[in-house]
């Protein structure tokens, strides 16, 4: 086994430890809620004997570590309990609502990376000239604006004042019917050969994903710019420049890669922010995703659903970060050496 494999296996091990810890936190969260969980689940009108039976069946009378064991054994089998709002199993609700959110987060998370890198490189190339000023000035304003404020502004501007883009119509216009394959609407429409439907679904995605993407895109652009500038002052660049290598070649071959690596390594955290912000943005755009489902669960004190969502997002986040780590290790030869000691 190569050093790279060992490093990746170690990361995988840590990810499992973190997952375990996450499940303990969520379990504790479920148990600190004031009130009797059995009573909360069944409602105030149900007679005490039935509540007691329910308590016994759900192991609420057992000591906490045993309760955790029963809960986690269920979770591993995909049983997150029953939602007290939709009266269905939380897992089933997830399979219905998760694809819409994933599609949104993918669009908000991945394509903007290229814009971020482009803007960052532009800013560094035109350092302290007008393109740099414009990018920096707009990034200050854009970063200062919370995602839900973007969503509200977009709704007002493009939904009401200049209604050129679909805003609160869900994922696709009426009249199209796309057979679900992957659950990602644009992709499914393309698989089915309906290009008009794919375009329509894309337009529906545009505003909510833009609201989610703007902040982190500009943040990444700023980071890329500052790393480009920092690396440009390093000795190895001075040396290559003195040897007469053209500026563009230096930028492309020697400067870009080391400057992009730190930006890539924070992207895992950005995914977390996107998921968090999706909570409000989905509500504002009436997007039928997991966040809107969770928001209703939170407001309705539907504890099984809330914990399920937090657990699910934690798992997605841990996996994304694992992936980002592996990409960084592959991109960066320095990481491979220092981490595999």
């Amino acid at each position: 086994m190569s050093k790279l494999h060992v490093t990746i296996l170690k990361r995988l091990g840590w990810a499992l430890v973190v997952l375990f810890g996450l499940s303990v936190i969520i379990f504790s969260l479920m148990r600190i809620i004031p009130g009797d969980p059995a009573r909360l689940a069944l409602g105030p009108t149900v007679p005490e004997e039935i509540v007691e039976q329910y308590r016994e069946r759900m192991h609420y009378n057992d000591p906490l570590p045993m309760q955790y064991y029963y809960w986690i054994a269920g979770v591993v089998k995909g049983d997150l309990g029953v939602s007290t709002v939709t009266h269905r199993s939380v897992t089933k609700d997830f399979s219905e609502f998760l694809p819409a959110t994933l599609e949104l987060v993918i669009w908000a998370g991945i394509p903007p990376i290229f814009f971020a890198l482009l803007l960052g490189v532009l800013g560094a190339m035109y350092n302290n000239r007008w393109p740099d000023y414009i990018i920096r000035f707009s990034s200050y304003i854009i970063i200062a604006t919370p995602a839900f404020v973007w969503a509200v502004l977009f709704l007002l501007i493009f939904g009401y004042w200049f209604p050129i883009l679909p805003s609160i119509g869900g994922r696709i216009s009426m009249g199209y019917s796309v057979p679900p394959v992957t659950g990602l609407m644009v992709l499914d429409a393309l698989i089915d050969g309906q290009s008009a439907a794919a375009w329509d679904a894309f337009l529906h995605l545009l505003l909510p994903s833009l609201a989610l993407a703007l902040g982190h895109t500009m943040q990444e652009a700023r980071l890329t710019r500052s790393y480009m500038l920092e690396n440009a002052g390093k000795d190895y660049i001075t040396m290559i420049t003195s040897q007469g290598v053209p500026r563009e070649v230096i930028n492309r071959q020697f400067l870009l890669k080391p400057s992009v690596i730190p930006t890539v390594s924070i992207m895992g955290l950005d995914i977390a922010a996107i998921f968090g912000n999706a909570f409000l943005v989905e509500t504002i755009f009436n997007w039928p995703g997991i966040s809107r489902y969770a928001m209703n669960a939170i407001l309705g004190k539907d504890i099984n659903a809330v914990c399920g969502v937090v657990l699910l997002l934690g798992v997605i986040f841990i996996l994304t970060n694992l992936l980002v780590d592996i990409v960084v290790i592959m991109l960066d030869p320095r990481m491979r050496q220092s981490r595999s000691k």
Binding site: Y140, I141, V152, L223, G276
Partner: protein, 282 residues
């Protein structure tokens, strides 16, 4: 005095950080004295005047009035105190807690306690902050204190990470080893030797974080989990205005602009301070 002057010169080199300082100072002034300066102080609480409900912005009501007839400008200013409190309290709890955890772990680098503490930190970092904050705030009674609590729980790991990084690199410095050799106790090493070296990084991060904490607070308040009506909060003002778009756009636009300005001010100031102290952006 000389050092202060030099720092100010370095800080004011960038016009943009001076703008930040001006915005933040104005915000602090309004947060503290705003109650006595607004045109309609009684409109900050529960006040009803249906005759003047839903008026568009005019010279009498700069930002219009809401559906209860309350002056929106006064309510925006009136919400500043809680916005400020949110930022200050969250950071003043999470920074010291994170610092202590990070220093203890960093000082014992490689030992069991390091692994345990930093893995716990990783677990907290592994949950999307807003998601857990929402979950915590929802389990508890929705109010300002609990929303602060929820954000604090999510915030300390960043400071743990930061001071862990600084401490574990200082760990093998000679002056720390000498201090150990002459028999200095752990509190002495942490507070007299390590803290001064972490301080500028922690303080810079605190100014840079102000804006983010305010955004988080506004987001929770938008979701209905922050300060409750009739007291004003920027987030809840926006969320109650969304239903009346586009007709009464001023209900949402002005609180939104207020949030953007405040956060912008803190971000510019934070950047200025971090440039002044020469700390890295990251």
């Amino acid at each position: 005095m000389e050092a202060l002057k030099r720092n100010w010169l370095k800080f004011s080199e960038s016009k943009i950080s001076v703008i930040g300082l001006v915005i933040v100072s104005a915000f602090l002034l309004l947060a503290i004295f705003g109650k006595y300066m607004v045109p309609y102080p009684e409109h900050i609480g529960s006040y009803v005047d249906f005759a003047n409900a839903g008026l568009a912005p005019s010279s009498k009501h700069l930002c219009g009035t809401d559906l209860m007839g309350r002056d929106i400008f006064s309510r925006i200013i009136g919400s500043f105190r809680n916005t400020l409190l949110m930022g200050v309290i969250v950071l003043c709890i999470s920074a010291p807690v994170g610092f202590v955890v990070g220093v203890i772990a960093g000082y014992n680098k490689g030992k069991l306690i390091d692994t345990v503490l930093m893995r716990i930190t990783d677990i907290f970092l592994a949950i999307p902050p807003l998601v857990l904050a929402l979950a915590i705030a929802s389990v508890l009674e929705p109010n300002l204190t609990n929303s602060m609590l929820a954000i604090t729980v999510m915030w300390w790991p960043w400071y743990a990470r930061l001071s862990y990084g600084v401490t574990s690199s200082l760990r093998s410095e000679n002056y720390i080893i000498y201090a150990e050799l002459v028999g200095a106790k752990l509190p002495h090493i942490i507070f007299k030797e390590i803290l001064p070296n972490c301080l500028s990084a922690v303080l810079t991060k605190m100014t840079l974080d102000m804006g983010y904490v305010i955004i988080m607070g506004a987001t929770l308040s938008y979701a209905g989990l922050g300060e409750q009506a009739p007291k004003p909060a920027l987030g809840s003002m926006i969320s109650s205005g969304v239903k009346y778009m586009p007709g009464q756009w001023w209900l949402t636009i002005f609180p939104a602009i207020a949030i953007i300005l405040i956060v912008l001010g803190f971000n510019l100031l934070g950047d200025g301070i971090s440039n002044m102290l020469g700390t890295e952006e990251n």
